[in-house]
Assembly symmetry: none
Amino acid sequence: MPQRQPQHSVGQESIFQAALTCFYRHGYDGTSVRDIAKASGTTPAAMYHYYASKQDLLMDIIGRFMEQSIEVTRVAIDEAKDEPPAQLFAAARSHVLWNASDVVSSFVVNSEIRSLEPDNRHHNIAQRDKLQRMFDAVVARGVEEGVFMTPWPREASRAVVTMCTAVATWYKSGGELSPEEIADRYGAMALSLVGSTLGVASS
Amino acid sequence: MPQRQPQHSVGQESIFQAALTCFYRHGYDGTSVRDIAKASGTTPAAMYHYYASKQDLLMDIIGRFMEQSIEVTRVAIDEAKDEPPAQLFAAARSHVLWNASDVVSSFVVNSEIRSLEPDNRHHNIAQRDKLQRMFDAVVARGVEEGVFMTPWPREASRAVVTMCTAVATWYKSGGELSPEEIADRYGAMALSLVGSTLGVASS
Amino acid sequence: MPQRQPQHSVGQESIFQAALTCFYRHGYDGTSVRDIAKASGTTPAAMYHYYASKQDLLMDIIGRFMEQSIEVTRVAIDEAKDEPPAQLFAAARSHVLWNASDVVSSFVVNSEIRSLEPDNRHHNIAQRDKLQRMFDAVVARGVEEGVFMTPWPREASRAVVTMCTAVATWYKSGGELSPEEIADRYGAMALSLVGSTLGVASS
Amino acid sequence: MPQRQPQHSVGQESIFQAALTCFYRHGYDGTSVRDIAKASGTTPAAMYHYYASKQDLLMDIIGRFMEQSIEVTRVAIDEAKDEPPAQLFAAARSHVLWNASDVVSSFVVNSEIRSLEPDNRHHNIAQRDKLQRMFDAVVARGVEEGVFMTPWPREASRAVVTMCTAVATWYKSGGELSPEEIADRYGAMALSLVGSTLGVASS
DNA sequence: AATGAATGAGGGTTCATTCAT
DNA sequence: AATGAATGAACCCTCATTCAT
């Protein structure tokens, strides 16, 4: 699991975090620049020192998270045994873990796409597609090699990503199951979904 | 599939529809009462003739859709053969169909829960739970009867509802697949997810 | 004490009374036509059946009360013994009684002059002057005849009317003193104010 | 006579003054925030930089004036010769002077109590009572010492305050009488009202 | 790096009034 | 005589943003 490194100054970081929390609780349009300033203990004008606009802040939040989502998935697939079932299991598992590790960001990223202005939205959609295609590729290869029996690889692949991402909408830390346990189960369910001929031993 | 009957006066109905479209495109907080008025060809004041507030309008949209979601699922389960696989298939299938039949409402309902004020939100959560429990019951019975092999019935049940609901986030009418085809596939995937020992012939 | 006769239809009367209460509690500008309608159990449109506007309603309330104020004072002076002390005592006494008999109207009349539109206000000011001049005349005659010793008849006369009118701002029915008792005391105080050489036996 | 010192920034002061004028002319409910902005040469938003709300502005106006009214009266009584007639004369005199020195504030303060929200109103009533009790105490002592003959000290005391305060409702600067002359006359009338056995030489 | 002041535009909501029924 | 629907204007207030300091 990669570290979430600041890259920001402490002033910027506190604003970034405050915005994240606000957007999570009240949405982008439901959050005012004043709300962010109050939550970060600064003034509205301070935000404009680091970001050109409120929209720019949202882009930073979303873009950063998506970049890392892609990276995390790529690493998971690369490090898995070079066979579709192991790769799909690893990809689904790491995607769940990643989203569960930062439910707040995940939720904001997945619910505020609409609040992006056109150009920013296009960029985001491209990132999303890139992530989806990584899963698609694994599933497609599994079908080619005859280890995944699903007749609808595209739908199955989409369903896998959807259900893993959605974990962030209901997961609460401190719940009955640890993120790792949930991740294992979702890995297994992903294999079910594509009609894998064989399971994968969980850690 | 039940008809969406107005029950509203024409004035109210046009406002209802306009709000739905606006909320879908720009979100609750991103939509002004003036936007709704413009979209419905009336004035801001007209909305207040039918609804006590913008929030009240949102509640009407969400409450109505959720009520019907529950009803549709209940009918699907009731009318299916009295066996868990057939019931789960029918429930998933009808849930997909229902959400695909009104992507706009579905999306708004599933993305604007946060915009509900506390009391309204509690009511909505109760409705959501009610729907989830209908799926839970079918899956639980299947596990008891030994026809569903999943070791995690609760997670699987949640994943089924999640992925079916999410169809509304990407389905576009006029696409490659008809709603019925998609619904069939999701019914089958639901059975995969719970480890059903046998499939079900689609209609 | 003259009777307050309706002259209105019952529909109009209930609106008149409702408006009076509303204006008393929240002021003219603080009262909406809807408030009046609600308080009278009708609809906003009903008011327009009897009055041309909200302003017109206010004029009815104020004009009617002022007319009667003048009439009451005239009768009191006419019926008193033809001597300044008796007349001033009677005028002050009846003015207190009149205002205490309908504190609500009195308060509205004396606090909403400003809410009158120019033409209406001019008419109201004329009525007010007419009332004041009745007291002025009595005081002036008393001074001429040497029974009132005040060196400032105008100020004293104004102070008398002012303090009697103001009774409505604090009098609460059911209080320690009856309106008659208060009226007697104010009659006596009025004589003090003008430096009357002799008191007047109260009834 | 204490100076009315700004204590405000110039921005706030100009808004304060503009509001005062508007409230005086059209009442609290009859004045819009835009009216105040226009009158002060700023924008509606500027007011919210200094005050939390329009109501808050009203409270500032009323609270500040009442505080000073009390202070002015206290000083007048303290600095007068330590005998009830001198004290009542001084108190009435200074109360008239104070109200005449700022007719606008006085009028607003005495006519917009109703526009205060409950909590604010309670605070204001307490201030009013405090002022009234200062007069009550002087009159009561005069009666005890046998120098005031009135049989109704409470009513007389109230009438004194009432008539002095009301000067602001009719006094126009530049009129026939100077504020000092009017004040002297009202001081004398106050003594008449309580049946003082001896007058007080005016300045 | 940080902020208090300021603003034009727009937020949700209520207004007095009209009019067809 | 009475009302539900409708509307344009205005309500109080908050918005994202700028700028001098």
